[in-house]
Structure formats: structure tokens, C-alpha cells
Symmetry: C2
Amino acid sequence: MPSEAPARCAACAARNRALCAGLADRELAALHAIGRRRVLSAGQVLTWAGDPAIVCGNLVSGLLKVARQEADGRTQIVGLLFPGDFAGDPFDTRATDTIAALTEADLCIYPREALARTLEQHPAAERLLLRRTLATLTAARRALPMLAHARAEARVAAFLLDMAYRAEVSGDRPFVLPLSRGAMAEALGLAIETVSRHITGFRDDGLIALSGLRGIRLLDRVALARRSG
Amino acid sequence: MPSEAPARCAACAARNRALCAGLADRELAALHAIGRRRVLSAGQVLTWAGDPAIVCGNLVSGLLKVARQEADGRTQIVGLLFPGDFAGDPFDTRATDTIAALTEADLCIYPREALARTLEQHPAAERLLLRRTLATLTAARRALPMLAHARAEARVAAFLLDMAYRAEVSGDRPFVLPLSRGAMAEALGLAIETVSRHITGFRDDGLIALSGLRGIRLLDRVALARRSG
DNA sequence: CGTCGCCTTGAGTGCACTCAATTATTGTGG
DNA sequence: CCACAATAATTGAGTGCACTCAAGGCGACG
């Protein structure tokens, strides 16, 4: 039965968050027909900015960065992709961003052109992508005031709170930051040293506890929230 | 004939740039049936952030700003809307941004809910909105590195070049900046004084000529481009 | 002619940057 | 398992840029 939800999709960890969520079996089968799984190890690149755009994909697990190279050689992260998020632009023949894995990442990837054709034949899928893109736009715009005005302390505090939220960690339970200090600096538009200074500052003030390079516990979310605004 | 392109649309200045462009007469008639014209004078607000989202619209002439209020009371412009651009989010019941006119502006506005229903019935229109939204996302992300890293001089230079491009002005022909210094500061994430200082700096260096508060000529685009990045 | 809004110019300060050195952690081979 | 190397993070010192605060100029408009 071609209209049944494919077994791979039914078992997918991102099944209920990705573009696939809410699609009828018919649309899901159409997507499944052109998709395949791919694992990226940390640091590997999915698309290079400027190169012809070959693939798009749904992130199943792990963390991707969407980044741009600046004239002075620095890198600015313009988006972080979490499980369920969509990577790439089905209608752009040339990639505008470099998309790379910050951790080991599991993706369901689609050839860009085939995906574009499939979307044209399945308005329900296209509608989902539209809503998702509108949400992504809102997220990008939320980051604008942060990068434009907020002081370094506020950026770091807000980022830590956001990471805890995304890791679905409540209270002061420990969790692992999926980004290095360098990646955080790229995302927050700061120098590595500045990120480091404020993180150790928070630790010295008793707002957080650190263990190893990536382990962290938020001891005082209220104080962190106060410093984030 | 209900499937004819309505006369108002045929005469519209934004007919070939707005969401309407490329729509078949049938879709155009559906949009026309729920749309009406509205003129905003400079400073008037179309939507307030946080209020229920009532309307969306296509900008026909003039300039709108899409702005967010920060915790410290400052305003950050997260998008500028030029003729043909789409304002609002048809699927969001609450406005996330304050949208206001920077100049007198002419819009074709649609009740949000009716527009959402119309889009669901007309996949071609929805597809156009998707492509437009993807382009807007790219534009927002292009602004991110600017606000995160670029020095004030680079931001102002890039902005002036962009304004000339949007005004479709070539060479050193004079044109009118549609924004006040204050609005430019809100868009560039700078203080008014900083914008003013760099503009007069460019004038003193012979890169631009000013006439009145809004009039400007770009005398040396190459030098401006050099200073923009 | 005076007022109001917008813009310009000046002085001084603070924050985040760069450069530089040290420490901590992770990974690898003996 | 330990020593070592390589990478990542921290810490320190000094500087520059854009900010705030403040005053003055310029035009538009009544």
C-alpha cells in the first residue's frame, strides 16, 4: 500500500516535530520516496555557502548551525537547528548559508529539486513549510535586537536559559551544552574571551555550576533571567 | 466575469511586485474580494505588537517599518517594507511586531482570517507567499552579521548604498532618504548621534553630498562600498 | 518672531575587543 | 595506565569605539 506511512517514518524520532508532522500518509509517502538518512559527525558540512544547492533535510537528532562568513573572515551563526527543524531552501538553486553539524547529527535529506517538485504537488506539505518558515523568520527577528543592543552579559544569560529550555531541563538539573565556547561566540556575536569571562562570572556569582567544558547546571534561573534583560 | 483581473488590481502600482504578481485571474479575484485600500500617514501604526492580529497587507507605495520593543524601552527595526512587500503573518493570531509607516504609505489590506482561508483554497497564492517569506528570512539573516559585528561606519555606508539601490538611483543622482536619522539608528542598532557623526564624516570626506535633512547624493560609491565592509 | 522638532557637535566614560600567556581538558600512542 | 600532545578555555593588560550626557544650530511652522 503506497499510501501507508512508511515504517522508517513511523519510527522516526522527529516524526511529530518535523515537516512530516501532520502530513497525511499520502504526502508522507511522497516525501519518503525521495528521502534518505544521513549521519553527520561534528564539524561536517551539509551545504557550503555559494555552492549549488543540492539537498535539503529534516534534522532528526543533533545540532546544526546555519552560518555566514563575513568579509573580515569571521563567522556569524544566523540560526541553530534542533531536532525537527528544516534545513535549506527548496527553491534556491544556490546555498546562501553554510550549514554544518555542531554535534553528531542525524538527518533525513531530500534532493532539492525533487523536493521542490513534491511540494508543488502537495499543497499540505507546502503549507507546513510556510508556517515553519514564518516561525523561523520570527526567531531570526527575535535575535536581531539581541545582537544589535544587548550587552554581552545579557546575551550569554539569555543563551544559557534558552539552551536549558531546548534541552528540556527544569530546575537545576545538569545538562550538556551542545556548543563549544567558540560556537557560542559565533552565535552571540561576541569574542570567545568575552563569552568565557561572563560564564565564569556567573559561576563565581553562584548562578550556575560547571562540570567539565560542556556540563552545566542553572542554580538561579531568576537571577539569570534578570541579567538577560 | 468573476475570473477577470479586477480593474483596481490591473491599475495597481505594485501589481507586478506584490504577492499578486504571477497569480492567475482566479486567485487574484479571490484576493481582491477580501481586500481594500488604506492609506497610512507617516507615523501611523498598522499593527501593535502584542495586540490581536487583525490585518495583513501588501504595500503599494511608501515605506513601513517592522519593529520590536526591547526591555530597556529602545526600539529595534527588524525589517523595512518597500512597495510590493507583504506585511503581517496570516497564521499568527497575535501580532509579534509593531508595523508602522515611516512615510505616507498606500496599502492593500486583507482581514487576516479571511486571507488565511483564501490561501488555503489557493495553493498558488500560498506558494508565492512561501517564496516571499523565504526571501524575507534570507534578508533578515543578512542583517544579523551587520548588527552583530560591523562597525558603525560600515553599517551606515552599507545602509546608504542599499537605500540608493532601493530608490533605483544610479551614479551620483540625488535622492531622498525615506528615513529620519532616528529611524536609521533604529534600523542599524546605533545611537542617533553615531549615525549623524558618520554621515557628516562621509560628507566631509567627499563621499556624499547632503541637501536638507533628507536629500543625499552618493559621490563615491566605490569608497562607500570599501567602508561598508 | 518665537517655538518645536530634528540634527549636529563636543566631552567623557565604559564595555568588549585584541593581543598575549597560562591553565584545563581531551585525545593518542607507548 | 601514564606521558605527552593537541585542542579548548581561562585569565590578564591595554586600547578603541560607540555610548551617554549636554549644549548648540538649523528649519519648519504657526
